[in-house]
């Protein structure tokens, strides 16, 4: 019995930590979705780029991946702004001809990034063996006679904490600055935002940049606990997509909750059904969200707040 409780709690903890990181991936995608009304299918590949940045900084200069956040996020921001301005935006202007061509374009961008990574860095698996990789805290360290044993991995905890800090910083940006408010306003009503003097075109580029920076940050937080190869982006694009649907298209709060739900759910499927089942769990939750909660978590939040 105790062993079962232990396993369950341990799985819950891992799922929650994973969910915090997933939330960061989903947040970036949800922001882009909200403002630009497109699904960024290059999202995971942008994360992969950031992971290579962190990898090379670690391998060549021994820079800790957590410090690389400060390099990779600005880099990804400018990459995102550039992609939006020079590739996606020109295609958006011909929206009336083919409504989904921007989404298809993001697929192409993702493919190119993944292929470039293969060409330059080969398809080898890589990782950043940080010194604290296997450090952990145990429940019995704090409570001698605990009936069960739980552990908290140091890099996982650190990554989670960093994800929380980035999320809080994003919240401050979106609620306390004019640019942040303008981004939210653009997501809610483009024409009204224009009437308020919001330069909607610039907001789109900035939002894409921020979305890329967020997933780039997530990449740096993932690399100490994961491994890296050029085509890993697809998997994380899927994660972001499922979270965006689960959270409610474009809702940032929904993305946070959706990320945590997905993290816990995947962790549970991995523990109780086996490692290989996580993608199946992801797919199940995706379908369940579409069928039972078409507006996502955001629709519940909205109902509570606006009463409609």
């Amino acid at each position: 019995m105790a062993a079962q409780v232990e396993l369950f709690l341990q799985t819950l903890i891992s799922g929650f930590l994973l969910g915090g990181l997933y939330a960061l991936i989903g947040l970036g995608m949800a922001l882009i979705m909200g403002v630009m009304r497109i699904i960024n299918l290059a999202h995971g590949d942008l994360m992969m780029v950031a992971m290579y940045v962190a990898y090379w900084l670690f391998t060549l200069f021994h820079i800790d991946p957590y410090l690389s956040v400060f390099v990779a996020t600005p880099l990804l921001f400018f990459l995102g702004v550039g992609l939006q301005k020079f590739l996606i935006n020109p295609v958006m202007k011909v929206e009336s001809i083919l409504p989904h061509n921007q989404v298809i374009l993001t697929v192409g961008i993702g493919m190119i990034l993944a292929n470039l990574a293969t060409v330059f860095f080969t398809s080898n698996y890589r990782s950043t063996p940080v010194s604290y990789a296997s450090k952990a805290w145990y429940l019995t360290d704090f409570w001698k006679n605990a009936p069960i044993e739980l552990s908290l991995s140091a890099p996982w905890s650190l990554s989670f904490l960093a994800a929380v800090i980035i999320t809080v910083a994003l919240w401050f940006f979106l609620t306390k600055t004019d640019t942040g408010k303008s981004i939210r306003a653009t997501a809610q009503d483009i024409d009204a935002a224009l009437l308020m003097g919001v330069n909607v075109g610039v907001m789109r580029a900035v939002t894409f940049g921020i979305g890329a920076a967020l997933v780039g940050g997530a990449g740096c937080l993932f690399i100490p606990i994961y491994y890296l190869y050029p085509s890993l982006g697809k998997q994380f694009t899927n994660v972001g997509f499922v979270i965006t649907v689960l959270g409610g298209m474009g809702s940032t709060e929904g993305a946070i909750i959706g990320g945590v739900i997905l993290g816990i759910f995947e962790s549970m499927t991995a523990t109780y059904l086996g490692m290989g089942w996580a993608p199946v769990g992801r797919f199940l939750i995706f379908v369940a969200a579409l069928v039972f909660l078409p507006g996502g978590v955001a629709s519940i939040l909205r109902k509570q707040r606006l009463g409609k």
Partner: protein
């Protein structure tokens, strides 16, 4: 202050505004009245730069504005309170007001203007932290007016400010518009609520299927036979 010269406006291939000309002089309240689908909102959207005239010119303080990026118009001193309010419903009352003062002088004087708006519309102060989407219809209209005022406009344009409001609230909204005008803001109202609008307006225009068919002082139009039968139901 605002001169519309012979504009044609099309949605795709469909022309909805035909050679419309009118003007709004400084400090005036000008009304444009017309039935559903006459093209009132289309005209305001064209002035705001969301739509472009196919033909004709729009001048503000003597300068052409019909080629300027729409987001630059607030800075010139034009505020557009859109039809159905178009508030940012998932933002608070105060955040909506902040959105009205993003640029230039209005940004610098944000807190001062906000205090003034709260003075004018005290309900908004009480509800400053409430989400705009949870306000009543009348409060939402007040917020839309207040948000427009935040840009310190020289010209404030209202698209059917009385839409969906109970008679008592309609009076309150028009009262507020008059008060704003009294403090020096020029006003252009498009409305279907013909009586109330013409009562506050210095001058008015009648728009019918995209063309101006009549014009005159508010009083004159109120007494006009055609206006009476077509719009006042008497």
């Amino acid at each position: 202050m605002l001169e519309i010269k012979n504009i044609d406006v099309l949605y795709g291939d469909v022309q909805v505004i035909w050679g419309v000309s009118f003007e709004v002089k400084a400090k005036e309240i000008v009304a444009m009245i017309g039935a559903n689908g006459a093209g009132k909102s289309t005209i305001l959207r064209t002035i705001s730069g969301i739509l472009r005239p196919k033909m004709g010119e729009i001048l503000f303080e003597g300068k052409p504005i019909y080629k300027i990026d729409p987001f630059k118009l607030t800075e010139l001193g034009i505020a557009h309170v859109p039809e159905a309010r178009r508030l940012f419903v998932e933002m608070t009352v105060e955040e909506n007001l902040d959105m009205g003062s993003l640029r230039g002088e209005a940004r610098v004087r944000r807190e001062k203007t906000k205090a003034m708006v709260f003075e004018l519309l005290p309900r908004l102060r009480e509800r400053r932290r409430q989400l705009a989407g949870t306000l009543s219809g009348g409060e939402q209209q007040m917020l839309a007016v207040g948000r427009g005022l935040m840009s310190l406009p020289k010209l404030q344009m209202f698209d059917e400010p009385s839409l969906g409001l109970a008679p008592l609230l309609v009076r309150e909204v028009f009262h507020t518009i008059r008060k704003i005008n009294g403090e020096g803001t020029t006003v252009l109202i498009v409305e279907q609520n013909v009586k109330q609008t013409l009562l506050v307006a210095d001058r008015g225009y009648v728009l019918e299927t995209g063309k101006i068919t009549q014009q005159g002082t508010g009083q004159a139009l109120l007494g006009d036979e055609h206006v009476k039968t077509a719009y006042l139901g008497v």
